[in-house]
Subunit: 281 residues, 2 copies
Amino acid sequence: MKDDSLYHFSLGTTTHDLPAMFGDVKFVCVGGSPRRMKSFIKHIAAELSMEDAKSEYPNICAGTDRFVMYKTGPVLSVSHGMGVPSTGIMLNELIKLLHHAQCTDVTIIRIGTSGGIGLAPGTVVITKQAVDATFLPKFEQVILGKTVVRNTDLDQSLAEELLQCSKELNQFETVIGNTMCTLDFYEGQARLDGAFCSYTEKDKQDYLKKANEAGVCNIEMESSVFAAMCKLSGLRAAVVCVTLLDRLKGDQLSSSHEVLQQRPQILVGSYIKKQEKNLTG
Amino acid sequence: MKDDSLYHFSLGTTTHDLPAMFGDVKFVCVGGSPRRMKSFIKHIAAELSMEDAKSEYPNICAGTDRFVMYKTGPVLSVSHGMGVPSTGIMLNELIKLLHHAQCTDVTIIRIGTSGGIGLAPGTVVITKQAVDATFLPKFEQVILGKTVVRNTDLDQSLAEELLQCSKELNQFETVIGNTMCTLDFYEGQARLDGAFCSYTEKDKQDYLKKANEAGVCNIEMESSVFAAMCKLSGLRAAVVCVTLLDRLKGDQLSSSHEVLQQRPQILVGSYIKKQEKNLTG
């Protein structure tokens, strides 16, 4: 394809010099919230001592309100909204962007929030495999009306390196485990506080305990499409999510969780800093 | 439930007087793009001659970056992001909000964009039924790991009233038809321009033609969860989407489509104005 419009980024091969803009990208960090991805680019710029003199990071996708994108040195920070479909749109266009820009050896990490199962709130989970609502490590993609099953393994060596990094940081508990990815936040995650609920507290507890026995440490809404698409395109990928609450003890979230949301940023920021140090000697 | 935090709106029953803030709401318009929902509130305020003297519409959900919400008189305008999961989160919290605020006789309309099949770009489609990728009128919701099937019928009299309104407006072509709702924008809609593609142009054409023969006029990513949840909660609901391109002729979108995106706003604005006139005599 000669001309390619990356519509939801408001970028394109005929309108932008993608190799000049993005050719040096080595790390891509993605997350649901636009504000958090802006906060991450400031954090990583400080970590890498690459602060912009003006301390301003223009939104590269300012032409659209679908996603935001920021860059400092070799690090790109992109939002993906909430859920598999929104994240799938972003990843399709991101993978095409990295291809058009002729990027090589790119590591991509999702930094997000999640509900934990049996973990103290604030625990960071590095995903081993993304599993579906029946605890199986697969992502179902419907193509031409037929279901295609895709693998959701993530890079195990990257997961181990991130865990090691967290041990060195020694600021918060971090574990490696499976992450359940659902298409819904309320009934899909056995919450009792949605607009509809046709099951009991006991049904909820039974389901979450079964998930936990199957190796599920936390629940979110993007890991399966992220793992599947990154694997298909050969990107080294990890998912790092903080747990905002223990779902065995409750369902409701409150804004008091905001400080916890920074933990994946701190861990991934520290990891990237270490890699850059190794590269530059 | 006594205390209810509507987390993704940054609103709650203990922190906000929801009946005072929202008790008079009669129309809720929802759409994916935050900017478009802001533009809609300005449009409807002008239609209803309720322009704010300062011409400012504060974002009621300013405490979060997940969704935006604006209000003028009896009309609420809320964004839902892209895709079924994001829209499901918004609708769960919206339905709870309307319940807490003791709203009655609420009509809810999704105004969006879509890809058309065999229709001139710019045609507005009012959805009869939302169908899945196999053209069946159902929405599958996974609850406690088991699939529950929900009905996706929309309010037929509301659809007819909207069609009549468009005839009176006489500004653009409007049809009633089925809308296919997919979980993916690229492979899920048989596009050839995504990051991955394992089928041919002929496979794509065959699939889209089969969809068209089954009554599908357009394709988008939110109508099924919208129809199912509104039906379950007894809200009178419609989906009004403009087609930005004819998918039989292409896949790529460009920003030149922006003027077309206003058509659902114009139609729904005109409909609400007519209803308000009838009510106030």
